[in-house]
Symmetry: C2
Subunit: 259 residues, 2 copies
Amino acid sequence: MHTVFVYFIGSAGSGKTFLTKAMADWFDYKSIDNVIVNLDPGAENLPYNPEIDIREYFTLEDIMLNYGVGPNGAQIISADLIATKIDELKNEVEYYDVPFILVDTPGQMELFTLRESSNVVIDSLGKERSVMVYLFDPVVAKTPSGFLSLLFMSSSVIFRLNLPQILVLSKSDILSKEERERIIKWSEDPEEIYDSLHTFSIPGLQKNLGIELFYLLKDLGLFRPIMPVSAVENIGFEDIYEGIMELFYGGEDLEEILY
Amino acid sequence: MHTVFVYFIGSAGSGKTFLTKAMADWFDYKSIDNVIVNLDPGAENLPYNPEIDIREYFTLEDIMLNYGVGPNGAQIISADLIATKIDELKNEVEYYDVPFILVDTPGQMELFTLRESSNVVIDSLGKERSVMVYLFDPVVAKTPSGFLSLLFMSSSVIFRLNLPQILVLSKSDILSKEERERIIKWSEDPEEIYDSLHTFSIPGLQKNLGIELFYLLKDLGLFRPIMPVSAVENIGFEDIYEGIMELFYGGEDLEEILY
């Protein structure tokens, strides 16, 4: 069987690193082999021990010192440098014969989604066996306009990376039950999000948003039900797993494929 | 007359800082008073001397030292801290009686667009007199899927910040004449971008993109003609200026309003 690469992507502070760890723990608990790759050269105090770690090649500190730049400049340089280490990373990855490789991406989302080196990494490791788990930040997602903003941002990342996407509501434990349910409803039903938004008008736009937009995005597959996850409450991992299995194995359980 | 706040927003490396400087130079050349605000606590080697500077209150270095965190953590903390300095910033801003205040935002776009403090800043300084200039990174914009990705990302920022938006093709001097013209055509005509994309299919999406999407986004005002700008070739500033005047003064020239 071939390895599936799962990229965890979301804006800074959305909880990628903790979700990566919690997903690995869940796989361990289910006795499903997995490996973690850390692609963030600026990562500090990781809650997991990655089997593969970009920081073994360079760190943000190295770049700041070697190039004489501050954090802003170092982040851009290091994002671009990841591509130059792709042969080494690929060698390391090929050492592992596991069903799942979990890839934790740089803290600032745009360093991964908008720099060209991410496409080099995804292509080299195996694009056709890759999926992204996209994290909605719960604080942003709980207002209708914030939800809409994340919907467009997650779509933007689909167009950029050209990968299938599983949408998750990250750190859903920090939301009240009502907030969580409302966000899930918005993601399931164009009428629900439209009703919450229809008094909403934006300066510079020609008219208010129409419901057609949501139906169109739904038809395209850009507007999809979101899965609440929480590393604290230990929920959502089965859903992510099933989402991945559905994409790559038509929903068959891994045990049936492996044995 | 009231001051107009112009926020320069775009992903890391898209050229916000140089565009801010070049716009200020253009205003100076036209003898239009203007002030620059730097909101990036991690800015290094700015090409301009900002009249107002968040770094006078704190820098990314300060945060790293005081909180014992690395650059990733410091960026998030400092983005949130900007809101705590809003009274001081507002006092400074009110000292200037100028028609335009140009605001250079943090290097990593999501630190401004997705953290709550940006809404505090925009509201306090005066939301109804604010506009964003959104920069399309020319390297990303030159492929059809990259263009589409930026279109969704810029729309995402409209929903998040709820401000009118002027779209510019940043650093357009690094593109060939053909590339530049193609991008402008894509932004002007749904048929053009659709034709470039129609062989494009995305794993996990139900079907290929239809042209309806672009017509719908155009009707909404999310899909708009982009203005090429270049600080090197000194083009596009008149267009940005006219775009701002159109929004706030119905297109009247400032001289007619001032005198």
